[in-house]
């Protein structure tokens, strides 16, 4: 098992507009990308469970050309609204780093 953080070139989160938070998990080479994609461990349900949201609300993509896995969720709090702690959504990816990939 290997932590996703040590396999990915970049794991990031960002706003996709004020109402959606999006996560990009990007890899350097096709072998590592395919290993993660084909492991089946990183999927819609994983993201749903880490972010306490219904799987149906998660958009989930494998991007073969970009060697990337992507997920988007509705923002828990609208960007900039009272209580929002992360205006750009830039520091919401940390829980993804610890996913163990076989």
């Amino acid at each position: 098992m290997t932590r996703l953080a040590s396999l990915a070139r970049l794991i990031r989160s960002k706003n996709a507009g004020p109402f959606v938070l999006t996560f990009d998990i990007m890899f350097d080479d096709p072998q590592t990308y395919q290993r993660v994609r084909d492991s089946g461990v990183l999927n819609r349900d994983t993201v749903a469970s880490l972010y306490s949201i219904a799987p149906a609300k998660v958009q989930f993509f494998y991007c073969d050309h970009a060697l990337a896995v992507k997920a988007s969720i509705p923002r828990p709090i609208i960007q900039g609204d009272v209580g929002d702690s992360d205006g750009h959504g830039g520091q919401q990816y940390a829980p993804l780093m610890d996913i163990e990939i076989p």
């Binding site: 004020p18 109402f19 958009q59 991007c63 050309h65 970009a66 990337a68 900039g80 702690s85 940390a94």
Partner: protein, 470 residues
């Protein structure tokens, strides 16, 4: 403007991702030497938050906008090519559009330039929106907050995000420079290609890459220029700075950035479909893209963006170092909140019921992720506390901060007897002023693509320029 009936190659220069974020002057000169047919630049976004659309301020300093605009305008006029600017002044509302128009005119005067300027407004009239809502022509995107006539009435400013058509109309009307309010970032760059009949899929895809400047390179150092050679069945993309490299992976990855869906990007007139796009390296810094498709929508829709006042805020920042308090921080905070509520009632009576809010962030515990934080155990020897008081006026918010300060300072814990001072305060309360919230994620179906975007055509400088067609 170009009038060739069948242009085989359209060259496009994007100086940077946002006007005001900067670019290298050398890169711009290199880009200009590659003979672009036009220059485009996005100048705004929702990304800096609701306060800009709400207040009319700009996210980038006026001095920085002036610098970037001056260099772009000078380059465009030297080559006699159009300059297209979208989302002027961050939010694209009329206050911001007027501010950037002022900067543009100032810069033009200083450089002794004369040209035809089109200014396209995107701020929306509330009565117009209410009428469209009653006609059932405003519908929600997913996810969208609740929306009704009151939301429209409460808004400080509402803008529509224009498509490519208003830019095309401005250019066909003889504009050399187009300054637009809120616009789809991509519409700025797709407009000229669509005018010349290039494939909409390629035009919108190239536009998607260009709108972020050099963001799609492998080795981004700082904001800089990007260049596209758009042809009939593909486009090439590279950065003018010879040190910056695009690879098939870096260009393919760019469609992920700040997008919910990396394969389908929605515009007013349809959807860019990248699922069959192909990316091939031409050399070690240029990528060839083909296969991008565009599905025309049955209805033309314009996205609305609105911001309303949430209130006024004062904040208090403090820290806790005592391990006994840290060990019971949740309980301590719950007791503090009860004390504050009781004290607010004592001071304000019933006048503030339901009209004030205390938010607390505990950095070192879950300040960044709040309730989504998976780590429950506190591993830090100190915590930072941020108290946010939101109220109908700044004066009340500040008074509330005074109450919070005093209650927090001396809230006891059972382990100590006697008067304690529980929080270290580097300074007293700070007033944030008015704060805003984004209050809509709706689209409007206008009668035509121009209805929401009135245009002014202005002659800048003295004489009409002669023989400047490129």
């Amino acid at each position: 403007m170009m009038h060739q009936p069948s242009l085989d190659e359209l060259r496009i220069l994007s100086p940077t991702g946002v006007c005001g974020s900067g670019f290298s002057e050398q890169s711009l000169e290199t880009g200009l030497s590659m003979l672009p047919h036009f220059i485009g630049c996005d100048a705004g976004s929702t990304d800096p938050g609701p306060e800009y659309l709400g207040s009319g301020a700009t996210a980038f300093p006026v001095e920085a906008i002036t610098r970037d605009l001056g260099l772009m305008l000078s380059g465009a006029r030297r080559l006699g090519i159009p300059l297209l600017i979208g989302s002027a002044g961050t939010g694209g509302g009329d206050i911001q559009l007027d501010l950037v128009r002022g900067i543009l005119l100032e810069v033009a005067k200083k450089q002794g330039l004369s040209f035809n300027l089109a200014v396209i407004h995107s701020e929306q009239d509330k009565d117009f929106l209410i009428e469209k809502l009653r006609q059932g022509r405003i519908t929600p995107l997913e996810p969208a907050p609740p929306f009704d006539e009151e939301v429209i009435q409460r808004s400080a400013h509402i803008v529509g995000m224009m498509g490519a058509e208003p830019f095309i109309r401005a250019l066909e009307g003889g504009a050399d420079v187009v300054l637009a309010g809120r616009a789809s970032d991509t519409a700025i760059f797709a407009s000229v290609p669509l005018m010349h009949g290039f494939s909409p899929g390629l035009a919108w895809h190239a536009a998607k890459i260009l709108e972020c400047g050099a963001a799609a390179v492998v080795n981004r150092k700082s904001p800089d220029c990007m260049f596209v050679w758009l042809r009939r069945d593909h486009f090439l993309v590279a950065a003018p700075d010879p040190d910056l490299r695009c690879t098939p992976q870096s260009i393919a990855s760019h469609s992920l950035y700040e997008n919910a869906d990396p394969f389908r990007l929605i515009e007013c007139s349809g959807t860019l479909d990248l699922s069959a796009a192909q990316y091939v390296a031409v050399d070690d810094r240029t990528v060839k893209v083909s296969g991008s498709l565009f599905e025309h929508a049955k209805r033309y829709t314009v996205k609305l963006e609105g911001a309303e006042l949430s209130g006024f805020q004062s904040i208090l920042i403090g820290s806790v170092r005592d391990p006994l308090i840290i060990g019971q921080i949740d309980d301590w905070m719950a007791r503090l909140k009860m004390r504050i509520a009781a004290r607010v009632k004592m001071v304000f009576g019933d006048t503030l019921v339901g009209r004030w809010n205390l938010g607390v962030r505990i950095y070192g515990k879950n300040g960044t992720m709040g309730e989504l934080e998976p780590v429950q155990e506190i591993r830090s020897h100190e915590l930072c506390l941020v108290f946010e008081m939101t109220a109908p006026t700044q004066k009340i918010a500040h008074s509330l901060a005074g109450i919070v300060r005093h209650q927090a300072l001396h809230l006891p814990i059972p382990e100590w007897s006697g008067l304690i001072t529980a929080v270290a305060l580097p300074y007293n309360a700070l007033d944030r002023g008015p704060i805003y919230r984004f209050n809509m994620n709706q689209v409007l179906e206008p009668s035509d693509p121009f209805e929401m975007f009135p245009m002014e055509l202005i002659r800048v400088g003295a004489q009409p320029e002669q023989g400047k067609a490129s």
